[in-house]
Structure formats: C-alpha cells, structure tokens
Symmetry: C2
Subunit: 222 residues, 2 copies
Amino acid sequence: MQTISTAEENYLKAIFTISEKEGKAAATNAIATALSTTAASVTDMLKRLAEKNLIAYEKYRGVLLTPAGERLATFLIRKHRLWEVFLVEKLGFSWDEVHDLAEQLEHIHGDALVERLDDFLGRPRFDPHGDPIPDAEGRWTYRSQLLLGALDAGKRGVITGVEDHSPAFLQYLDHMGLVLGAGITVLERFAYDQSLRVRADDGTERVLSEKVSQNLYVKPTV
Amino acid sequence: MQTISTAEENYLKAIFTISEKEGKAAATNAIATALSTTAASVTDMLKRLAEKNLIAYEKYRGVLLTPAGERLATFLIRKHRLWEVFLVEKLGFSWDEVHDLAEQLEHIHGDALVERLDDFLGRPRFDPHGDPIPDAEGRWTYRSQLLLGALDAGKRGVITGVEDHSPAFLQYLDHMGLVLGAGITVLERFAYDQSLRVRADDGTERVLSEKVSQNLYVKPTV
DNA sequence: ATATTTTTTTAGGTAAACCAAAATTATTTT
DNA sequence: AAAATAATTTTGGTTTACCTAAAAAAATAT
C-alpha cells in the first residue's frame, strides 16, 4: 500500500473542491491559487499524483480525481469536518476559529481513530458550518437548502449553512444572532440594492445586505 | 519566530529523553538508534538544530538541549501525553494502542488547542502509562515510586507506572489484572531467578518474573 | 605507547516539494 | 487566419531530510 504525503493530500482535496464547484476538470492555475503555490509546482505534483493513479491528468487539459483519489479526498473532508465538530462541541472553540486546526488534524492517519471520534461525537451529519460530513463509506448527506437571497418575501427559513467560511463573515453572523438552526423570515426585498428586511423568530428585525444574503443558506419552512 | 519541522521536533524529543536517562550529553549513535536513522543523518540534523540555538553541540562530544530546546521538548511531551489521555479516556482506546496516534497528534500546533484539551480532560497530571504530564508552564510533577523489584517481601505498593511501554508488556499486564492504581503485595522473592510471588488486593496470587518486576513501578503503601 | 576498534563526521548523492524564468501550447482577439 | 494574450509545462535551481561509503577522531585493547 502506497503512502500519501500531507502535500499530496492537500492537492487531492483542492482538486476535489475545484472540480466539484466548476463541474469540470480542475485547471492548474486554479489549483495553484487554492494552495497558494505556483503553476510550476502544481504541474510537478500532478505528474506524481498521476503516477500514483490518484488523478486523471492530460497535459494542458486539467485534472479530475480517479475513484481512488476521490475516495481519499472524501475521507480527508470527513476527517476535517469531524475534527471541527470536536473542536466546537467538546473544546468550546467558536466556528470561526477551527479551520486551521482542522486543516492540521485532517492529516492524522488512523482509521480506528476516525471511527471512534465519529462515535464519540454522536455520528454528526453536519459540521459547525452546516457542511455535510461523509459517512464511513464515503456517502454524502444531501439537503435541500437555498441561499437566503433566493427566499421570497413573506417566506420563512431555518439557517442551515454558509457559503463564505471566512472568520469575518462568521463573526458578523454571530454578532447578528444568525446561528445555525435560527429561524428567519424575509419581510421585504429592496430592489435598489437587493438588501433584505428580515425578522428573527424573537421578533427582532434587521436589514441584511445582498452580500450576506448570497452567503447564507436556509432551508425553507412551510 | 522560527518554525520547527516535525523531523526537528522528533530530534528534540529524542535528545531530551536520552540525555535525561543517561544523565549526560546524548551521543550521535544513541539518537540514530532512537529515531531509526543513521549517524550521518543525525550529524546533519544536529548542525541545523545548533544553528537554531535549540541544542548545544560540539563535534564528537554529543548534544544537550538549550533552554529553548528543552522548552520545546517539554511541550511536545505535554502534548503527546495529553492526547494519550484523550484517546484512552474519551475515545476508549486501550493503553497499548495509543502511542503511534499520539506520536502524530503531538505535532499539531496550537497553544489554545492544548490548553483547551487540558481543561476538557480535567487537567490530568499523569498519562495512561503513569508518566507525568508537564503543566502549561513546563513544570513536572514528581512522584516517589520504585520498581516492583525493589519492594521488600511483605510490603505492599500501588501500581503507578511502567518502564517498558511496549504493547506486548502492556497487554501482559492487562491480562494479569495489573492496571494502574491496583494494589500489590510482595509475598516472597525467589533468589534463584529473582521472581516474586505477589498477591493482588482481591487475594489472587501470582508469580512475576524478574523482567516484569524490573518494568513495573509501584508506590509503597505504609 | 601503539594498534585496533568504535564512534562520529565528511563527502557525495537521492527524492520530495517547492521556486523563477523560459519555452510551449491553448485560447481569444482582431 | 494571424496575432496577441493567457495558461501551462519545461528547465534548471533551491532546501530539507534522508542515505552510503570513506575519512577522521576518540576510545579501548594490547
């Protein structure tokens, strides 16, 4: 069984994320940007990953993960998100503090560790940002959610996740009481700047910018 | 602030352990053996660690840690042992399974993580093998313990730790019911092979070899 | 005190993971 | 369809952390 380095794991995760979002092969430059490295370094690594049959790579055509590569990437995301749950639920970190630590912890190797951690945490299906956690077989939980910006006036939804994971956005949400699970009703949409007047379940009313409404996911309630 | 690689951290820990046990500067060969590498590689690394002022190195004279190096080594041991407590107390691993995982986890960087983990675990002073855990300021807890082999016939002690940390020994102890905190009374010492006849607090009597009695620590009870 | 053995260092080399600059290929514009 | 631009790869280099074999120093034996 071949071993995979931390650097290789980071490439697999980046390729997974980019090709998933773009719906096509990940470009060298996109990977370089995601990993804060140069295109030359990426080409270097792609050759090695192709050699290990973790990616399907054709020069100048971008890359896709092979089933083996996708399995590894999925498992890395599983580990990252389980550790995030641990950091928030057990150690008391806030959701804007856990990314860098989880980025390190996801590279710890040990199948038994992951499964025991999962049990210890009560087999959570979503991480502290509302992102789904693949199960031990790599299966994803799908959930019907839409951006708050897509919710019609008069409709209510429950906050289920974020698109922007930056600490600045997460801290803003904390400040506004917009936490996962909170109910929110769209009262009015201002055509001028696409801002929304919303009401929390406790009756508090606020105006949220388009930028906020485009980065917050809600599940509509009936 | 300079960064320290995982390889460098492993050298610091090895130097700490060897120089502490031997009571003198750690020899190149001893470090090579401890890290399963070659003397040439060790010399290589010693130059780099000396450059970073983490060790006091004189060619052909062995190495000692500087205060900065000792601080780092102590903190690594703190992290290693806290993670071992987590793995045993929270995730349900047994004491013979946790070393390799803790060996990875000790290299996770994050002061807040360590302090929160320490709190979460109830600020334990000893790890699952009875080894002391340095506190956040790097202070060690000392404990009066001696090898079971040094306990006179007729005396009773409580098991406080192990010298040999190998899974084989730990599993043997489990099998014999010789867990941390268990009481044990030496009934008789056989001069021929230095084996001991002992009695557990539940009345069970056993004979333990010299090898066992030289690898098990007890705290004498009055 | 010299010879032998052991330990340590040096010399020269490797692979992984990065880089800048130059060359090549693909894409877009005209 | 050519020219210009953008994306990608190649070339030649770096550092880290290893290695083997040879040389040098220290320790031990005679």
